[in-house]
Symmetry: C2
Subunit: 216 residues, 2 copies
DNA sequence: ACAACCATACCAACCGTTCGGTATGTTTTT
DNA sequence: AAAAACATACCGAACGGTTGGTATGGTTGT
């Protein structure tokens, strides 16, 4: 696993350029439909550089998922909503932040690892595992705030902070599919609004009432 | 659009066999990673038969999406929950039915058109459009029951039946991504349970309360 | 000098697609 | 009713382009 060019950060950036290109091109065309030449062309490098940094195309897929996990982690860690005092405010701050970055073309705001997970499931387990680590790692960052918000409001629920955190990711991933289907953002934003409404309802009741339709 | 060989039902089924194979193989490997040979092998036919029925591989993708829309429409139309009297019971019956068919391998219960939408967005607009028609067409079938349930309970909401119907599809699609990421069903089922909880909360209040966190 | 980095040239396998041909059934002509 | 003409379903070999990957040599920083 070659280190990301620590000596000369402005030169020797072929690896990063390739990972950036992978992030953009794969989100638009998919992993399998993206050729190594496509990536080299988008990154402005040659095949020699590509196979110097990545043993195979699959290895680039794994590295792209890891790169996505790194960059998005830093992106969300620096987001302003973390400075809010109330954990529930931080949770809503996160969702609003996710809403705010749904802008422009779907290929720009949708999730690389969500796209790749579906596609390479069955053909590239290594990539799928790297994508899963990114998705669930990100979901886990929401759990402390959810748990704190539950404790602060005395919520006794039949769901766990982990399951709610993962549900938020499911809604976002599903919203991205709707966005890609229509090419627009409205359906995605509407779905995230439903998620916000769900969170509001969940945290506005102090104890969980029996679900009248929970037959099984 | 060649008719499916009405005279000899046991022969002339290469087209259907190919569409069945496409449904299964593409869900596991993705569209681009599935070669025409793969499909022919899985269907037990030759390339000649493939290109007799489909002009291009892309045309098969479009036909597979349309076939998916047809077969799933019939599948859900015949489901038992339609016989319930209360429209809200039918809505929960639908969600429980979706839960019940989340069984076995993810490649068997996940959504073909949701998978393809993400992948071919940008490279095959014709397939993407066919997938979008399937997704939103299916969502539209939920709107009458949602609207009737709202009317029966005097719900005055800031959301529409159409947006809630599409949100259910977003949750399901997102749940499928989680399932493919882990290879299991638990996270998907948990997410659908959150959807059920949301529906329960939505329809248990008679008028929409202001959202305390709806700052924008 | 030496290793890391990257470019050029190239290859073998695979891909989607084409096409000549066969078998069988259907319609039209005689 | 038989023959001729046509239509549909399917086979499988072959083609040309593309693909992921390799071999090799040059350049740059230390």
């Amino acid at each position: 696993m070659p280190r990301p060019a620590k000596h000369h950060p402005e030169r020797g950036d072929a690896r990063t350029r390739l990972l950036d290109a992978a992030r953009d091109v794969i989100r638009a065309k998919g992993f399998a439909a993206t050729s190594v030449d496509d990536l080299c062309k988008a990154a402005g490098v040659t095949k020699g550089a590509f196979f110097h940094h990545f043993a195979t195309k699959e290895a680039l897929g794994v590295a792209a998922a890891a790169y996505w996990a790194e960059t998005t982690s830093a992106f969300f860690a620096n987001a302003p909503y973390h400075r809010l005092d109330d954990p529930l405010d931080r949770l809503f701050g996160y969702v609003d932040f996710r809403k705010a970055i749904i802008d422009g073309d779907p290929a720009e705001f949708t999730c690389l690892v969500g796209t790749m997970t579906q596609e390479v499931y069955g053909s590239h387990p290594a990539i799928r595992d790297a994508c899963a680590a990114s998705i669930f790692g990100h979901a886990a960052t929401l759990e402390p705030d959810i748990a704190a918000a539950m404790a602060a409001r005395g919520i006794e629920a039949d769901w766990t902070p982990a399951s709610l955190a993962r549900h938020t990711q499911a809604v976002l991933q599903g919203a991205f599919i709707l966005a890609k289907a229509t090419g627009g953002r409205e359906d995605a934003l509407d779905s995230v609004d439903h998620l916000k409404r769900y969170l509001t309802l969940l945290f506005s009741q102090t104890r969980s009432k029996g679900n009248p339709h929970d037959g099984r």
